[in-house]
Amino acid sequence: MSAPATSERAATTRTRLDPAEVPAGLPRWAYLPAVGGGLFVVLPLVAMGTRVDWSNYGGLVTSESARSALALSLQTATASTLLCLVLGIPMALVLARGRFPGQHLLRSLVLVPLVLPPVVGGVALLSTFGRRGLLGESMEVLGLQIAFSTTAVVLAQSFVALPFLVVSLEGSLRTAGERYDVVAASLGASPATVLRRVTLPLVWPGLVSGTVLAFARALGEFGATITFAGSLQGVTRTLPLEVYLQRETDPDAAVALSLLLVAVAVVVIAATHHRGAGGAAR
């Protein structure tokens, strides 16, 4: 039986509870901090739910500013997820399959936005695309002004979300290995055909989860956006920025919008998780 077949079977049995199985390597005391950690994640969300002013909820989340922020958030997060896919899939392929000097260093550099404070990312983007930035000046000559525009929001979100996609996909590519690609090439498939018909289908679950992570990260982006794109209603004020702003003036609205963000995130993850699992079992 081949290796992928067994791993697939392991994945299906893992979800089923088998009363005969005895867990190994699980000390009993681990349950206590594990439960504590679970509460630490769930409790704040529940607490937020208790603070929602349900009687006015509809009005709070359908105000003009809220609707424009939600629409902008969904549009920009979708656009940056697409940008991440266009740039990230080739990056992951090159990092996982290519052989060139400096590969190791490049792999570490790609991770930088992951560990960088988003505000610093915003400053970095401003120094690149800002009016007097590295590329900004020449772009201004061409009539392109990026900073403090919706494009800037997309760039800021892509900057912080890209590593999530690349890391997830590169890991899947490494796990899948090159052996199927070698077989496909020996059957006469060109590299593009191998990518389309073998490599990407095999890493489909990794690609889906990487895309979900990137979308979620883009949707929640705050620091880089406010630094690089500002907070103009309808142009750059995404939902997280709106939440932060409303928190000062109308805490009820902030809580209501926060819940909306949670709901959007849960829906996205549930939808793609379902499709991702379907893709893996195909």
């Binding site: 039986m1 081949s2 697939e8 052996r179 496909a184 090439a185 020996s186 059957l187 095999l202």
Partner: protein, 350 residues
């Protein structure tokens, strides 16, 4: 001559010359790490030669002189299919789609590729599994599908790298039979360390050891008259080398081995003497009487060998009954005498 390979790969310690005629099967026999897979990698295009040339049907697949590439055809344009010990069926495609993969990749229409896949499924007797996923196949079925997939791509050269190694012993005979049938007209190189694969599937054998071809020739000849220690061990024969004297074959250890018949060779010519382990008798004391060849030896290991026990010593291997092992008290480290009748020893020039 359709396939010729002359190449060195210093990083893998490989320096070989191979050729296969159209429609023939060449077995690469050798121990693990001998360089068999490296040679196949050169033909498939997963490795580059440092020096040498690889040609198939007049096309130069790869060429290099002193590390500099002089010719290169990408793996997918070579028409060289590779099948390893794992079937490596694409897990996301059905059995039929797997077999149709090669024709599809080479531009055949979907309908024609599926029709071709169905013909191959009939040829391997698995038509009823066409719509299954590879995960639902047994190991033997999966390997048969993998063979059909390789052949459906209509390769000019098929490379088989230990195709039976990962299978249960009870399914290998059936698979060997399938291969025997399907490889009849197919130019093939088969890397194996199993003598049965070579006997049943190959027209010719090249014995590879330490990155070199140490012996080559028609299968029957190499296996019945081995000239290298590896070929002898794989053929299950004891081999002693030496030079021809008026008395017999003088080994480096100073013994003289007597064989049957009188080869017509000059004195001093390098000679090989072989005998079957079953012809070797084991004694605790120096034997008297008819056997002309006796050796003092120390038992190294005992292992089951069919109904018998194979006794390996520092000199020759002997097959004896379990009863004799118990009677003689044979165990590793035991000093014994080995005796072989001259009539059981085959002597020939190297």
């Amino acid at each position: 001559m359709t396939f010729e390979l002359t190449a060195t790969v210093p990083s893998r310690g490989l320096d070989v010359r191979l050729d296969v005629a159209a429609g023939r099967t060449l077995a690469l026999l050798g121990p693990n790490g001998a360089g068999k897979s490296t040679a196949l990698g050169l033909a498939a295009g997963t490795l580059r030669p440092h020096d040498g040339a690889i040609t198939l049907d007049g096309r130069t697949l790869a060429g290099a002189r002193d590390g500099r590439r002089t010719a290169w055809i990408a793996p997918h344009r070579r028409r060289v299919a590779l099948l390893a010990q794992d079937p490596m069926l694409f897990p996301h495609l059905s059995v039929r789609e797997n077999i149709a993969f090669g024709p599809r990749a080479q531009g055949t229409t979907r309908r024609e590729a599926a029709a071709r896949a169905d013909r191959w499924l009939d040829a391997i007797d698995l038509a009823d599994l066409a719509d299954r996923r590879p995960a639902a196949l047994s190991g033997g079925q999966a390997q048969r599908v993998a063979i059909a997939r390789s052949l459906a791509a209509a390769p000019r050269l098929l490379l088989l790298d230990e195709p039976m190694a990962a299978l249960d012993v009870d399914v290998t005979p059936a698979l060997r039979q399938t291969l025997q049938h399907l490889l009849a007209e197919q130019t093939t190189i088969l890397a194996t360390h199993d003598v049965l694969d070579a006997l049943l599937l190959a027209d010719e054998v090249a014995v590879v050891d330490g990155g070199r071809v140490v012996e080559r020739g028609p299968t029957a000849e190499v296996l019945s008259r081995p000239r290298s220690a590896f070929a002898a061990s794989i053929a299950g024969l004891n081999l002693l080398s030496g030079t021809w004297t008026s008395d017999g074959v003088a080994t480096a250890g100073g013994e003289v081995v007597h064989g049957h018949g009188a080869p017509d060779v000059a004195l001093g010519v390098a000679m090989t003497a072989v005998c079957r382990p079953a012809a070797v008798a084991v004694h605790l004391d120096a034997p008297h009487g008819s056997p002309r060849n006796t050796f003092r030896a120390t038992v190294r290991s005992l292992a089951p060998h069919g109904d018998l026990v194979r006794v390996r010593t520092d000199r020759l291997a002997a097959d004896v009954t379990p009863g004799s092992v118990a009677e003689l008290g044979l165990a590793p480290g035991r000093e014994v005498w080995l005796a072989v009748k001259a009539a059981e020893v085959d002597v020939y020039p190297v």
